[in-house]
């Protein structure tokens, strides 16, 4: 049996979610297309209404403020492009941060090619964005600020409430990418002072290809997808009814079990943290004081992370590198670089992310394998003697 510790990438589907989806697809009500006027259409509409209420409950929102999408990236695109297009402004300004997911950064980059301007605010060594830096970046042309709730690589929870208060005071829209946050953190859209919030099902045991965008009442968006006018005309296309029911089930389960899940994750995280004390030249990049308990980014200096993760994979242990593989080259992670890690340190960094199915035994096994492999791989990849580098070494952080 494999050990899956890459839950920030995606999570295995929960059996309860599968059952909820199967009940929609194969149940006696024969729920089909919610736009249809016959009984099976009405049944689908009923399923949609219930799911919308459950997702809205989890966000502290009104059901009418939930727009279902085909995933987190689509929700983010709709939030950013939709609000820019709806503004009617010829050259609106966008503020975002250097540690955002590519779904945000690349959408903003594309909007810049369409006449928008953007300011990308840096993060500190703990991957945290300073609300004052956001305030300083806002200009009189700023239309929207986009900030993530929790970082996908390091797990840092951002001070979104403070950023939201600034945006509210300055009359600027706030979009929160809560893809890694919903179901893991308590989320209340009023508490966060946000106008738009993106989330997805598959990070919490739900199905892939289903997400949602919270749109505060009174906010106008221009659709990205035109068609039959589903989802209040903001997102056309026949809804994925079974998937949406699964999303609602996953959110509700995550909310109900958060206390128990956090306790289990904290226990497992402590074992992973121990690697820092038990091995030389190991640094944990995730600060437990401000990070989600399910995520730990660890740099094993002098050990090639790609070789480490591939060896682990060959043993049935799945984790990810902090480096994204793109265009045939190993590009250092933009998040780790934004935190100040050197390229070398980025290439030695592994992300462990825990999920609903992770057990302590699995983490113990993974830690044992990591210790054994890192020691062996360092003999091949380390250019200097072990033990010379500590947390303050320039190898870890750029001067």
């Amino acid at each position: 049996m494999s050990i899956y510790l890459d839950n920030n990438a995606t999570t295995p589907l929960r059996p309860e979610v599968w059952d909820a989806m199967a009940a929609v697809e194969f149940g006696g009500a024969e729920a089909r297309n919610p736009s249809s006027t016959h009984k099976s259409g009405q049944a689908a509409k009923k399923v949609m209404r219930a799911a919308r209420e459950r997702v809205a409950d989890a966000l502290g929102a009104d059901p009418d403020e939930i727009i279902f999408t085909g995933g987190g990236s689509e929700a983010i695109n709709l939030a950013l492009k939709g609000s820019v297009w709806a503004s009617g402004l010829s050259a609106p300004h966008i503020v975002t941060t250097a540690i955002e997911h590519h779904a945000v950064l690349n959408t903003v980059a594309w909007l810049e090619t369409q006449g928008c301007s953007a300011t990308v605010v840096p993060a500190d060594l703990r991957c945290r964005v300073d609300p004052q830096a956001i305030a300083d970046a806002i200009t009189r042309d700023t239309l929207i600020v986009s900030v993530m709730l929790a970082n996908n690589e390091v797990g840092t929870i951002q001070p979104v409430r403070e950023i939201g208060a600034i945006c509210r005071e300055r009359g600027v829209l706030l979009h929160v990418d809560a893809v890694q946050g919903v179901g893991k953190l308590p989320v209340d859209v009023d508490d966060l002072n946000c106008d738009l919030l993106s989330c997805t099902a598959h990070k919490i045991g739900g199905p892939k290809g289903v997400g949602a965008l919270y749109v505060r009442k009174g906010i106008t968006l221009v659709p990205v997808i035109h068609g039959g006018g589903q989802e209040s005309g903001i997102r056309s296309g026949t809804q994925n009814v079974a998937g949406i029911a699964g999303f609602a089930e996953a959110v509700e389960l995550a909310e109900q079990e958060r206390e128990e899940t956090w306790a289990r994750w904290r226990d497992c995280r402590q074992v992973l943290f121990g690697l820092q004390d038990e091995m030389n030249a190991v640094r944990v990049n995730s600060d437990p004081e401000i990070c989600l308990p399910n995520c730990l980014s660890i740099t094993f200096l002098y050990c090639d992370a790609m070789a480490l993760t591939t060896n682990l994979s060959m043993r049935g242990i799945y984790v990810s590198t902090g480096s994204a593989c793109s265009s045939g080259d190993l590009e250092p992670s933009h998040v780790l670089k934004a935190m100040g890690l050197s390229d070398v340190a980025c290439h030695c960094t592994v992300r462990f992310s825990l999920g609903w199915s992770t057990t302590r035994d699995q983490v113990d096994t993974a830690v044992g394998a990591v210790k054994e492999l890192v020691e062996m791989l360092r003999e091949v990849t380390m250019p200097e003697e072990l033990g010379k580098c500590g947390a303050d070494c320039p190898c870890f952080v750029k001067a």
Binding site: D304, M306, A307, T309, T310, N311, S313, M314, C325, L330, L373, M376, L377, E379, V380, T381, M382, P383
Partner: protein, 89 residues
């Protein structure tokens, strides 16, 4: 006997070639003690290694590098240690 497998890209790059040259030097140093195979990343055999980034060097079932050229002295040390282990058996 120690097995060395080099997984190279379909279109070999300089890193693939440097890795192969490094392995060939090891073969010369340990005649008859190493079993070397070169595998293209699109070959069915490469699947078992979970190819992510060639060149990948697998020594006695352990992947020692992926996507880069290893430190030659370090690689030699690993191979020698594995040879000692195989002789002890």
């Amino acid at each position: 006997m120690v097995d060395i497998v080099l997984v190279v890209a379909t279109r070999e790059c300089n890193k693939c070639r440097a890795c192969e040259a490094m392995v060939r030097r090891l073969l010369e140093k340990h005649p008859g003690e190493l079993c070397f195979r070169k595998v293209r990343d699109d070959a069915p055999e490469a699947d078992e290694f979970g190819v992510v980034m060639p060149p990948m060097l697998v020594v006695s079932g352990v992947l020692v590098t992926a996507g880069r050229v290893p430190d030659e002295r370090g690689l030699a040390a690993v191979v020698e240690r594995m040879l000692e282990g195989s002789k002890a058996k």
